[in-house]
Assembly symmetry: D2
Homo-oligomer: 334 residues x 4
């Protein structure tokens, strides 16, 4: 049994991670921590997330000295703020553990990316070099030997799973940038009190137009520019991305279908639609990313849907852990 530690376990992603680990036959949820300053320190996880009562009744222990916690865990999930992961990951790594980071701190290996988009200077270029981007379906070999896995953000997971087969197959017209319109549930903003996330204030609206930091994460890993427009939706969970692309002249429907099937036919957590496109309800509460598409002439619309907290966070993190340690990718995920 592997001993697993979740750091920053009080949020929505932490709760989902804990549930998966609680039912994983080869993993033992050793402990949960939160910032020592958190008002939640000392509480049971199931006090914050009552659905876990009787399933995960572990306390949220105050995170003090990393070295103490490093000893008790083979694998550390960091469900922490970017700056916290940035600092803590090397500490856990130095102690020999495998770190699966759900923040943005090790996702893009570019010198000025963090200065520009995250507002801090990255101090750990060595680990940035060695980090493996945890887009599981495309990094399986690298994940198997990774010590640091940087799990992609929720929007980037859906967007890249939808576009990567087309880019890999050279099917897209380089003159026109793919237009990614994506709508996310409110849980994507985290578990906290803000006026903007209060029940009466939430309604469908775009935000971060041209400025959201998932845009450069997507573009960097795809290798092509994209227009990315995120929206807040009036639902708790899920992401639906509608992506409008221009194909190179002459690309056939069969070629598009083949690129998706080649990429995902052997992947248990991406579900391709031979007909139609996914609705959000198909994926909420599941670990899958569902993908469908429609074509008309050179115009292609790809629709990808996932649960932002699961395939967009906790499920993909556990999927990476399963791959890393040789278990079935879907172990504990449904």
């Amino acid at each position: 049994m592997l001993n697993m530690l979740i750091v920053g376990a009080s949020g929505y992603t932490g709760a989902e991670l804990a549930l998966y680990l609680a039912r994983h036959p080869q993993m033992n949820l050793a402990a949960l921590t939160v910032s020592a300053q958190s008002a939640d320190a000392g509480k049971l996880l199931s006090e914050l997330h009552p659905q876990l009562k009787g399933i995960v009744d572990l306390p949220l222990q105050p995170m003090d000295d990393v070295s103490t916690w490093a000893k008790c865990a083979d694998v550390v999930f960091l469900a922490t703020a970017h700056e916290v992961s940035h600092t803590m990951a090397p500490q856990f790594l130095a102690a020999g553990g495998v770190v699966i980071d759900l923040s943005g701190a090790y996702r893009v290996n570019q010198a000025d990316f963090y200065t520009q988009y995250y507002g801090f200077e990255h101090q750990h270029a060595d680990w940035l070099d060695r980090a493996v981007y945890g887009l599981a379906e495309w990094q399986e070999e690298a994940i198997k030997t990774a010590q640091l896995i940087a799990v992609p953000g929720c929007y980037p997971t859906a967007s890249q799973l939808a576009l990567k087969p087309l880019v890999a197959g050279g099917l897209l017209n380089g003159e026109q940038w793919p237009v990614i319109n994506a709508v996310s549930g409110v849980s994507g903003a985290g578990r906290k009190a803000t006026l903007g996330n209060s029940f009466c204030e939430v309604s469908l609206q775009p935000y971060g137009i041209f400025t959201h930091r998932h845009q450069p994460e997507i573009a960097s890993h795809l290798g092509i520019p994209v227009i990315f427009t995120p929206h807040l939706g009036n639902f708790a969970r899920g992401i639906l991305a509608t992506i409008t692309c221009r194909l190179r002249p002459g690309v056939t429907q069969a070629a598009v279908a083949a690129s998706f099937h080649q990429a995902y036919d052997d992947e248990p957590l991406v579900r391709l639609y031979d007909q139609g496109v996914p609705a959000l309800k198909a994926v909420v509460g599941t670990p899958f990313c569902d993908i469908g598409f429609k074509m008309q002439g050179e115009h292609l619309i790809v629709v990808a849907a996932e649960d932002n907290l699961l395939k967009g966070a906790a499920a993909q993190a556990v999927q990476c852990a399963n791959i890393r340690f040789g278990y079935a990718q879907t172990q504990a995920l449904w």
Copy 2:
């Protein structure tokens, strides 16, 4: 034209009041104020409530010296916290204005009520004596000459409109207390950032069991004890109260119906159902309280529904103003 001032105008009730006054042919919305400490001071009301853009673009002016503001208004609506209303109402009254208070500060004329339920000692027993409780359908004559009108809370309005005809007619069995189960929309908690009101945290749940201060407000004005169990519902607006009563032996369905018809047939803002009971959708966005009932033997279930921000707050406040100044009760309300 009467000049109207809304104090504490930044919240959901303030926005609804402003909309009504903006379309009232005999009332002029002179100004809006908020606490001088509020981060909203200086903003337009329509920046906070974008649906009002182009309709009410007045600024939220910082509230400093009451006497200055008293001069510009014939009528003051206090959409303020209880303690603020408690202090400010006498100041405006001293300047000669009519005050319509939407807080709880002048609703119950009992010495220790405020100490026990609101946590402050009431300093204005004289005004408490003179305040008229603005349950409009039952206080019409008193409202016509009132200088201070204390508009009932949202739960008490629905609960009392449902029960008062039965109490007045002596139809209830005194041995068993009416059981009021009511569900309110999240807007009832006000416009503010709290974890409990955040989108992902809201779900149907009871709160304040045996301890909510609307219970003594209801019991005091009805003159009988009641069991009152409020619930938070997963919707923005509206209250639905399901009230289970025991009738005195021998009370007929016709007698119950007659008590309601006698009370409300001439009242334009209470709608009686001859068949069935109201659903929440019947009243959201409207100034009405809808009432229906079912009987079986001595058991009676009365269902009352209203928009908590309208008949439960802003609409009843304007209804009181209309009565006070001799306009049609429904003026500007739809």
Copy 3:
């Protein structure tokens, strides 16, 4: 007072029309009709739409002989199926009334449009020639003398109000088609029982990709091709359209802003945002279309929001009637 008739009044649009007309000072809601075969014939409108109880308690009369009904109305609103409007409009027009048609039957003056997209052969080319497309802000002069006004669909209203200033100003790059991603509330599908619209089945999803008939309506009236992808949203009312365009090289932010201000500064029912873009909550329950935009280089994203039943249907229909008869455009609309 003008006498107004609503044909096909049982649906959500009919209810909104009836409410507007009930409070219009220069219009009299003379009668409501439904198909003689409808199970709703004979019921009060307020039985179907209980929020209207006490406001519009008129019966839904069975529609039999058009000539009888034509006599009682100066203006006829057709809130009927396309095929029904197609047949009935000429009958009412022959009797001399003004017809405001909310269906698609007279929106596009092209020979084969109805064959291709609506599945019927259009029989009334003469009236198709004379029909005025009721996109109110752009057709004001023509509406003033129109006998037949074809009110645009909900998606086309938002899409065209957002794009028409840019097309008129010659600001768009002709090489790339605007990408319109729009999400509509479930009420857009009408008041009827279908599995797809049942509460537990609704979730965010695209539909009608490349095949929705609002695409050719939009493209035809704009005069440029567009990609239009409609989505069903998990809310009752409203449309939010996020439109991604490519500008001609050198077009400045000031030029884009100027095109919008020139088009709408004098229009009371389009609200421009100098900063930010609209959220759905800004428009639900209001007669407005709200528009904002963001630019980055040659990329422009315009966001338009409206209530699909109001500016997308009933409010625009009444706006057209107000223009036609010389009343303030906003009369009765808020």
Copy 4:
């Protein structure tokens, strides 16, 4: 491995049952059937419930001859209409299988119950005698040897789990009937197209006041009369029951708590709250029934919450199967 058959598998309960059985280590989901007349016959379950794609892709086979299907199954779950279960259960039982019936057809062993509340004459008094009511926490011994298990309805499960310890302990005042106010998600009405369940029509409302057939089911099994008022809530899943009781004089808080702890401390699927009462979100998606209570003098309010499709249907059915065949009660349930 036990072979399991789900009859009437197309609905929401069928989908949940299929998911549980797909991950049950000792049970094999052998087949799914629907009525031969159903439009869904021949489709995959995952076409109707896309969240199951890749997990349960079995077809919905047309149900013709019971004897054929009886051969392939050790256990039959009947997720069918009451009349269908009434007829089919004896056929499967005659073939030797264990039948777990989720309909109401075998829940109450009273001669005239079905005539009065279900509208049909019960033809199988012998099986009615032998049926075990599957309220799992109270029938564990009987379930272990049952051939026919009649799983309680969703409202009765929550209501009885909340009240049974009080009745068993003799704590309730016999003069006053418990008042059960319960709110259910729309999925309780089943997967079908009705106007009342359409997205735009659903809002919080009581229904079936004094007439719902779960009232006599509850009263019959509790052995005391109750007032039961069900409500439709504006959410897909879950039931919250707020139950107001009168205690016998002198009953202490400790006595109430003791009655609950004695009943449920060893029961893994009932979670007691030492403080507070449950919110709906605590149970949605889980197999638990959560219970909390508050007292004031002789007044007691018990709140019970469950997922209507899980502890109120599919999870309790699988819990009964687990008990029947000697597996852990929670096997496959989370």
